[in-house]
Amino acid sequence: MVNLEMSNDVTVTFPRIQERIPTVVVDDAHVVYRVHKGAAGNTSPVAAFKRMVTRTNAPNVRVVHAVRGVTFTAYRGEAIGLIGTNGSGKSTLLRAIAGLLPVEQGAVYTQGQPSLLGVNAALLNDLPGERNVTLGCLAMGMSPAEVRRKLPEIIEFSGINQRGDFASLPMRTYSSGMSARLRFSIAAAKQHDVLLIDEALATGDKAFRKRSEQRVRELRESAGTVFLVSHQLSSVRDTCERTIWLESGEIRMDGPTPEVLAAYEAFTNGK
């Protein structure tokens, strides 16, 4: 084994390893949710008290096994699409890669700190858009001078000022598309080692989608890895050359985008 590895290193694969640097290694990862069902089941005060005394778990906690043994390696410079039907564990997998959900079993290794960019990630709704840009950039670790330099650029990119001066209005006055665009623009302003995008591209209008796809390509070229979760197969096709198809928390297929998309389309149409 050792000999084989040595010879591999020295002769055949050495230049190849040099050029393919892994940024995310997912090793047999299992993610389990414990969901509080809330008002369902026996929720009378007496029953709750009895549970407290007898120290049994509430019956309304249910265990959901969302990701079941996923293994893959992502390399620098790759853009990977994650597809699958609703509830197949795509978003959960992204959150595990971002380090926001613990894995029950297995491990996730990452280069640097991956940034998750999702449509349901809220900023401070009572504050104006430009204030949120400042806060978001500072929260990503930029210096105040860098933030001041990038602020106009980010507002410009998000296009929220196309219909008047929205940047100085509180974010609660924004449409859902506008705030999603602003969030994407903030996250995309920084150089990430690993950027995880959850459905964010699907919300903008066509012009914005074009711009953001262009930006994803730029991010990728500057030596990052991009993961894109989307139901919009066209945006996966345009931005990713590799696609992973998840079904019921397991990898159904992992390969070049055209092949995987063809199989996926056949699968969903056949249903």
Binding site: R20, D27, R95, P102, A107, L124, P170
Partner: protein
């Protein structure tokens, strides 16, 4: 399953491949030294976030920032009405209005910090799940916001103290270290309740009662001498170690002329104040850091 090859060409398992390229386990907690370094780099975020929260909290009110001063004033007026005029707690006291407002404003600083601290994590899940930053920024920002509020209250307080006939003395300067020690104490306590509140969401319902009991035990609304007069000896001994009582007494003794400490010893009171700040500050920080990788999950 574990010995599956990650990269068929290199013949390495995923774990070996990760180790070879210096990849780290996702969501790993940094050492406390590195964490403190990160926190220092995020100081601009903390102050920007504190300032943003302060502006946002009044953004829907027509009088805006004026409430920063109006809220403590109204509060003081209500308590004066009940405890001063109706219950006549001011018997035998030289300057009850100044005594009451000092206690109220100082206690309010800790009270609001703790109340909001329970929500520091659970109320910011969106931010936490979207962006990576040391989570201690959030409780620290709350403390910073409340500190700014306190500065506004202190201006009002000084006006009340002078208006009720207290002389301006050098003793006033003692207010500065007293408030700074209290701020450290608050920061620690806010971090503790932030971690507790992240897991136990019922804490938000319980906290008002805990805080009210604490307020009654801190001699905010009546003379602290009542403790010595009415409680058995051991209970008075316990009460004089109550951090809030200590911070309030320090503020009172620096601003008002005729006040007595419960334990009659100023150095001892300062020692207790310092001790609480150190214990809560360091302990709270350590406790919060221990939970760093759990925040925002679930």
């Amino acid at each position: 399953m574990a010995n599956l090859l990650a990269d068929p060409d290199s013949g390495l398992t995923p774990a070996q491949l990760a180790a070879r390229h210096g990849l780290r386990v996702a969501g790993e907690r940094p050492s406390i030294g590195r964490y403190s370094g990160q926190l220092w780099r995020y100081r601009h975020f903390i102050s920007a976030y504190a300032h943003a929260k302060l502006t946002a909290s009044f953004s829907n009110a027509r009088l805006g920032q004026l409430w920063q001063v109006l809220t403590p004033l109204t509060n003081a007026a209500v308590y004066y009405l009940i405890f001063g005029l109706v219950l006549e707690q001011n018997r035998g006291m030289d300057n009850f209005i100044a005594y009451l407002t000092t206690g109220l404003f100082i206690f309010n600083f800790t009270q609001v910090s703790v109340q909001q601290g329970t929500q520091a994590i659970s109320g910011n899940l969106g931010l936490i799940r979207a962006l990576h930053f040391p989570r201690a920024c959030l409780p620290l920002a709350i403390t910073a916001t409340q500190f700014q509020q306190l500065l506004g209250s202190i201006v009002v307080l000084l006006a009340i103290v002078v208006a009720t006939g207290e002389p301006i003395t050098l003793m006033w300067l003692m207010l500065v270290p007293a408030v700074l020690l209290q701020t450290v104490f608050n920061a620690g306590l806010t971090m503790v309740v932030a971690r507790l509140g992240a897991k136990a969401t019922d804490l938000k319902q319980v906290m008002p009662f805990v805080l009210r009991a604490w307020m009654y035990g801190s001699g905010v609304l009546y003379s602290v001498n009542l403790f010595a007069e009415n409680l058995p000896g051991w209970a008075t001994a316990v009460v004089q170690f109550n951090p809030m009582l200590v911070y309030i007494e320090l503020a009172r003794i620096s601003l008002l002329e005729n006040t007595h400490l419960l334990n009659d010893s100023l150095p001892l009171t300062w020692l207790i104040a310092l001790g609480w700040a150190a214990v809560a500050g360091l302990g709270g920080y350590f406790y919060f850091w221990r939970g760093e990788q759990e925040y925002g999950r679930g």
